[in-house]
Amino acid sequence: MADKNAASCATCASPKKKGPCGGKGMLTLKDGVWGINPLAIQVLGICSALAVTNRVETSLVMGAALIFVTVGSNLLVSLLRNYTPHRIRMIAEVAIIATFVILFDQFLKAFYWDLSKQLGPYVGLIITNCIVMGRAEAFALQNPPILSMVDGLANGLGYAAILAIIGFWRELLGTGKVFGLTVLSDHWYAPNQLMVLAPGAFFMLGAVIALFNAIRGPQEEEDKK
């Protein structure tokens, strides 16, 4: 938990873990999912977290997409880290990330056309998702490939978990259903349409972040980035 606020912005590369990879795997995994959870603690990449979470299904697909992209791009950035000139590293990272995003987008279009339609432009927008860029910049540039993959997986999982939580509550409260199956019967439950619309997303994300803050206890640096 020591470095929870490291890498709070995408551009400042933090030299926090420069040591060898030995024994860091579990710590990295735990950090990504809980300690520096990209969504709840660092508040990065919230655009897609808000946009696709009106149903559980789309939230899960989006989470899977992000895991795929962070793992892939972290691995590739890390492999190339000693060959990339420092000045063009940004554009190299963007190119790598875009490649993985295109792969996933084409996969969705080929096999899950309906989902691809529902997600609309948000799959493409993973390119500009600060989490992916932030992890490439802050972690993969300084760490060996395998550890970087673990870090990408951890952050992707952390992101996907929050997305699933938000998606679950929004679909449940908004339509009374989960995965399209009725849970709260409309005999006694009046679906709150607001939760499926835009404002519900903002309230739910605010509530989830507040919950994280409450569980973690008072944090002195929370708002002073």
Binding site: C47, A51, A98, T128, D223
Partner: protein
């Protein structure tokens, strides 16, 4: 011309389909840079300008290069390259010709490359199949809508500094909730005009 006129799209993009409050794009810089009105004014202006120009350029690139060559699967990477190159170009141009403007807008320009609202506007333009004039209206409206939202937000956040917020909600969570209320208010415009 099919579809609504460019003026209707412009109004709709500002109010009913606000790119930030209805489509959640550009949230990162919205949360990070909405502490002071001056900052958000500068950022809003820069975003509007870049958005109009890049949607227009991307329209031309998509319809006259990518479509005829059958390269639509490269859309994302080409769009992001166009945006990055354009921002870089504007930065050099502004630095060369107006140092005052450079110091006012300069720091925001690199931020804009990774602002998802810019790329999002270009992608929406493709998905909604706008004509060129509609694209111009949409780009301008989306930029102005984003600027309006962030300026309103910074005003609210400046006031909020003196209010007593429950401890876990301090900072980002309360900002989210306020944005939710703003989104609700903007939903009141929904009956006015509508695009998809």
């Amino acid at each position: 011309m099919n579809g609504p006129s460019p003026v209707v799209i412009l109004i709709a993009a500002i109010f009913t389909n606000n790119i930030l409050l209805a489509n959640f794009l550009g949230m990162c810089s919205f949360i990070a840079c909405s502490r002071q009105i001056g900052t958000s004014l500068g950022l809003g202006t820069a975003v509007t300008f870049v958005m109009v120009m890049t949607t227009a350029i991307n329209y031309v690139v998509y319809h006259h290069v990518l479509l005829p060559l059958g390269l639509t699967h490269l859309t994302f990477i080409v769009f992001i390259a166009v945006i990055a190159a354009f921002v870089q170009f504007v930065e050099m141009f502004v630095e060369r010709f107006s140092l005052k403007l450079y110091f006012a807008l300069g720091i925001f320009l690199p931020l804009i490359t990774v602002n998802c609202a810019i790329l999002g506007a270009s992608l929406f333009m493709i998905i909604r199949e706008y004509s060129f004039m509609q694209t111009l209206g949409f780009g301008f409206g989306a930029g102005v809508g984003w600027a309006v939202a962030i300026i309103l937000m910074s005003g609210l956040r400046q006031k909020m500094r003196y209010s007593d917020v429950p401890q876990p909600f301090e900072g980002v969570p309360i900002a989210m909730c306020i944005t939710g209320v703003m989104a609700m208010a903007f939903m009141g415009f929904a009956g006015m005009v509508s695009i998809q």
